[in-house]
Amino acid sequence: MLDVKKIKEDFLIFQRKIKGNNLIYLDSAATTQKPIQVIEAISNYYRNNNANVHRGAYTLSEESTMMYENARQSAAKFINAKSSESIVFTRNATEGINLVANAWGLEYFKADDEILLTQMEHHSNLIPWQLVAKKTGAKLKFIYLDRNGELDLSNLENLINEKTKFVSLVHISNSLGTINPVRDIIKHAHNYNIPVMIDATQSVPHTFVDVQELDCDFLVFSGHKMLGPTGIGVLYGKEELLDKMPPFMGGGEMINEVHLDWADYRSIPWKFEAGTPNIAGAIGLSAAIEYINSIGKENIEQHGKRLTQFAIEELEKIDGIEIYGPKFNRGPLVAFNIKNIHPHDVSTILDEYGVAVRAGHHCTQPVMQWLNVPATVRASFYVYNSFEDVEVLIKGLKKTKEVFAGVY
């Protein structure tokens, strides 16, 4: 069990009042709050070690280079990557996916090649492929959802075939909570030598993701969804695949020898990091990893499961609530709607109680189309959430129903 009360003390934002109430933050799937340890790691870097990396011969520059590269090592260790050379720092998960879609896709896709995605992808794992498909003539194929909001894999034998050149899919859905059997899908794709990218944005913060065990070829996640700062994310790629990719962006830091008419690029991962990187961001991410490790991934996973289960049980007691996504074995979030009340209105009323939930399509409009709703309310949990938080949510939902009593 997590000592949530103690953990909450590290997050100073919970000292704030929202319209006179305690903040009940249930939108961690969008972005998490930051512990003081992360905030201070960033401040301390700026106060003591700030300099540009990789090219200075003076003390500060040496220190900041070391801190930046140590952050890369700690990110590598966090997902059990073989080497830190397979870790590229990006702005966020989205940039990691765009990097691969461009640097791999534009290089290796031809007309009528197939890219396999799923119906539950976040826009970040859909639009980049639409753009690349348009440029190369490749076609998008989809694994569709079954009635439970899980992937319908009955047709996988047909979906993955000689035409398939790439598979990219989400590990844990941010709108349904579904946990996908990515390991099986990777195995299957590898039978055809097809590289697979995993969007682990919602899984890495909550569960131990081991890239060697999964044997995924690429994997992305965002720092800001795991207690880290905004503006930093990670692209993991197998070294031999990253080596085979041309650079995505050009500029300083990513080159060896430059002439007006040609240039020789640096080795991976630096080849993919053009310009001054988000140094403080990487250092903040590394502090977040340390914080997560100090709590323990297993504890975090258990805690998320318990809260989610409790929330679902309590929600089910309320009349007129529809819950979306699989019943069992799901990520630490729950999406739902109250009959006849728009999610936006639910969110506004909950805010009066200090409860922050997301109302919207959660950047997964195809899932909304599938659910046949314009939007949903989503409550998502992390280490600082308690069972009382869920109780306040439930109270707020009951109040919402009262406000809309005439309509309901």
Binding site: I341, H342, P343, H344, D345, T348, I349, E352, A359, G360, H361, Q365, M368, P374, A375, V403, F404, G406, V407
Partner: protein, 154 residues
């Protein structure tokens, strides 16, 4: 300021049974609107005759604020001249953003002032004005079309 001021009885009644919902075939004025911040959309149709809004309807899914606002708007603007409508939209925008007060003793504004509570919820202003912005866009398109047609006839 409490949540009941935002969700007043008038707002909720319009939300429950919005007026003027539907389509108009080959309307003179048509526009689609989109609320980037929540993903809601709306379509507005209007029939113009003798430079007046003879009929006006809307379609779309949305929250209580956007639905009731569209419902009241269509009620109010029916029968007005295009110029009156344009002025009214301007006036509404000023009031809903708090730049001007809602008039206290105007019959015309009586129902609309039920939206007053929105001013205290800046993020919801977009919901309240979605229908109005969309109609304004439709009128601009309509007038541009008229100008083009006139030019072609010259």
């Amino acid at each position: 300021m409490s949540i009941e001021d935002l969700y007043s009885e008038i707002v909720l009644e319009h939300y429950k049974e919005p007026h003027n919902v539907g389509e108009i075939q080959s309307p003179e004025i048509f526009a689609k609107g989109f609320n980037e911040s929540c993903g809601d959309d709306i379509k507005i149709f209007a029939r113009v005759k003798d430079n007046k809004i003879e009929d006006i309807k809307f379609l779309g899914k949305g929250c209580a604020i956007s639905q009731s606002s569209a419902s009241m708007m269509t009620d109010l603007l029916k029968g007005k001249s295009i110029n009156e409508v344009k002025e009214f939209i301007k006036a509404f925008n000023k009031k809903i953003t708090g730049e001007e007060n809602f008039p206290e003793d105007s019959d015309e504004w009586f129902e609309l002032s039920a939206l007053k509570g929105v001013i205290k919820f800046p993020i919801r202003v977009k919901c309240a004005s979605l229908a109005w912005h969309t109609l304004a866009q439709g009128i601009r398109d309509y007038e541009n079309k008229l100008i083009r047609r006139n030019n072609e006839q010259l």
